[in-house]
């Protein structure tokens, strides 16, 4: 899968000075499957907007975005839901967990769509991120950092060509962030998927990746 942005800029960004942005000022930006991109910028520069446009949550932009040469603005609701089940996965900054479900049920909700992982594999991932003892608690009572890890595992419980991760380590300590990042990279590599990760200041992430300055 390739994602191409052509002179794409969200309408609210038009009012801002985007002088040296490698994304908003680019005539054409190609994001390729199998590669990792880290989008770095301080708050308010449109990190979430960029991911939301690619994931179809925002349509208030100028220019065009295509996935495999299909203009995103022409996709039907059915095509979007198929895309979100099988091609694009998103770790939302706002997490989008269901408070009334347990952590494990939140993960199952996604996993059941495509029967992606076995229960053992899910428990294993939870173990890696150190949340297996919280899996049967309601998501609403977990700490934000724990919820972030639940959201990460949920996003990994589907097939995808691109994983969009929106500041997904913001409430974790350095060690867990690195573990989570490695888990994400492993899952991406297993699918030969691309990764677009936004971050306030992840300056020293391991593995090769392309940096994009907003």
């Amino acid at each position: 899968m390739t994602i191409r942005l052509e002179k794409m800029i969200p309408l609210p960004m038009l009012e801002q000075d985007t002088g040296d942005s490698e994304v908003w000022e680019a005539d054409s930006l190609l994001l390729e499957q199998g590669k990792s991109y880290v989008v770095e910028a301080p708050s308010g520069r449109g990190k979430t907007s960029l991911l939301s446009v690619i994931y179809g949550l925002r349509t208030d932009y100028r220019g065009t975005v295509t996935i495999d040469d299909r203009d995103l603005s022409t996709l039907s609701m059915k095509e979007w839901s198929a895309l979100r089940k099988n091609k694009l996965s998103f770790i939302f900054q706002g997490l989008e967990l269901f408070d009334e479900l347990t952590a494990l049920e939140n993960i199952h909700l996604k996993n059941e769509q495509t029967a992606c992982h076995s229960r053992d594999r899910i428990l294993e991932m939870a173990g890696v991120l150190g949340i297996e003892q919280f899996l049967h608690r309601k998501a609403g009572i977990l700490s934000f950092g724990q919820q972030q890890r639940v959201a990460i595992i949920r996003a990994l419980c589907q097939p995808f060509d691109f994983l969009l991760a929106d500041e997904c380590f913001s409430h974790m300590d350095r060690a867990i962030s690195l573990t989570a990042y490695q888990l994400i990279r492993r899952e991406c590599d297993a699918r030969s998927a691309g990764l677009i990760l936004t971050s306030l200041n992840e300056t020293d992430l391991p593995h090769t990746h392309t940096r994009l300055k907003l």
Partner: protein
């Protein structure tokens, strides 16, 4: 339970759904009960209905002194019949034919005194007569002649003749069991034959003794020797018997008709009015309950709007998201169908018992059409709600 159902069902309001459920149930019971009751009463009324359909009008000539003196004709001439046929309100016209031989009836029953009377017969085509066809058949082999007599004859006997003579009164239902013989006489002495007579019905509308047409044609052939008379009565079928031009024509020509029938149909009209009122009230209740249903489900959806948007973000199609609501709707509808049919049939059973004490014969089980009606209505309400659910979830997922 599926996770998505659990997520979306959490936001229901039990009071709203229960209210909508009970309201729709009440409306359904009232409506189905009303239809059941109407069909029962209709069948009771049909039993007592005249053997001639109300759109049939029987016309005869007014008796005047000219006829008495033999100067005027009592029957309708060919020309007069043609004239009636030519009227715009006359869809079908048929003349009565009458016997061309002497007839007498007599009883041979130990409980009644011997009784003999001269009679006459008239006949019209079978399609104008509304009795069970197996009762209205002439079979020369069996020799039983079915007869329809005016209701007044029975009234005269029961309320006038029988009490004054110390004879038993005869209920309508028993009349068909009375044994009497009919003697048909041909020309010449000793040329007669006896047949069994059987009264199969009464009419308020024809002042005549009716027999099947094929019998009378056969008998006229076999015994007839009178001069053929012009028919004294004409039966007229009109699509709209209330058409005032019919009465105008009849009066203008100096003919006459029995207007008695209007009285019996009034009862029918009042009953129809009461039932329609019941049905209208039931329809309003169902309409309101349907609205409450619609609004409860819509409220439930809008309370869950964040969750619905979240599910859509996770890749759930709006059809998948609307499924829990549709499932809930169908469960409630199935409950309403089941309960309303149960309650209506209990009601029908109760009504059946009450009616039995008045010796009215109404069915104790539900009419087939009740099931069809309940099902049709439920499908309609479900379809409308389903469409509303799909529309509003789709809107939220956009």
């Amino acid at each position: 339970m599926r996770l998505i159902n659990r997520i979306l069902w959490k936001d229901h309001s039990r009071a709203h759904l229960l209210g909508a459920f009970l309201g729709t149930l009440a409306g359904f019971v009232l409506l189905l009960g009303g239809i059941q009751f109407y069909m029962d009463i209709k069948s009771v009324l049909t039993e007592n209905r005249d053997l001639l359909d109300p759109e049939y009008i029987v016309i005869n000539k007014k008796v005047n002194i000219g006829q008495t003196l033999g100067l005027d004709l009592a029957g309708f001439s060919e020309k007069e019949i043609e004239e009636i046929k030519a009227q715009p309100f006359a869809d079908q016209v048929a003349a009565f034919i009458s016997n061309e031989f002497p007839v007498s009836a007599y009883t041979e029953n130990e409980r009644f005194p011997d009784f003999i009377t001269e009679l006459f017969f008239e006949a019209i085509p079978d399609e104008y007569i509304d009795v069970k066809s197996e009762d209205w058949q002439w079979d020369p082999e069996k020799g039983i002649i079915p007869v329809i007599i005016p209701q007044d004859y029975l009234n005269l006997y029961n309320f006038g003749f029988a009490p004054s003579q110390g004879l038993p009164q005869i209920p309508k239902g028993v009349v068909s069991m009375i044994n009497f013989k009919l003697r048909l006489r041909g020309e010449g002495r000793g040329n007669y034959e006896d047949y069994q007579g059987r009264i199969v019905g009464f009419s308020n509308r024809v002042s005549s003794i009716l027999v099947p047409l094929d019998f009378l044609e056969w008998a006229n052939q076999k015994y007839g020797y009178f001069k053929k008379n012009d028919p004294s009565q004409i039966i007229l079928v009109s699509k709209d018997p209330t058409d005032p031009s019919i009465i105008r024509f009849i009066e203008e020509k100096g003919y006459d008709t029995i207007r008695e029938k209007l009285k019996s149909s009034r009862m029918n009209i009042i009953l129809k009015f009461v039932i329609s009122f019941l049905v209208i009230v039931a329809a309003i209740i169902i309409g309101l309950a349907f609205l409450v249903f619609l609004l409860s489900l819509q409220l439930m959806i809008s309370r869950s709007s964040d969750k619905i948007k979240r599910l859509s973000k996770l890749g759930f199609h709006y059809r998948e998201i609307s499924r829990p609501y549709i499932l809930l709707l169908l469960l409630l509808m199935a409950g309403i169908t089941g309960f309303s049919l149960l309650l209506t049939s209990l009601l029908a059973g109760q009504l059946h018992q009450t009616a039995e004490t008045w010796s009215l014969n109404i069915s104790s089980s539900l009419h087939g059409i009740i099931y069809a009606f309940a099902l049709g209505l439920i499908l309609l309400i479900s379809a409308a709600n389903m469409a509303a659910i799909l529309i509003s979830t789709k809107k939220l997922c956009k």
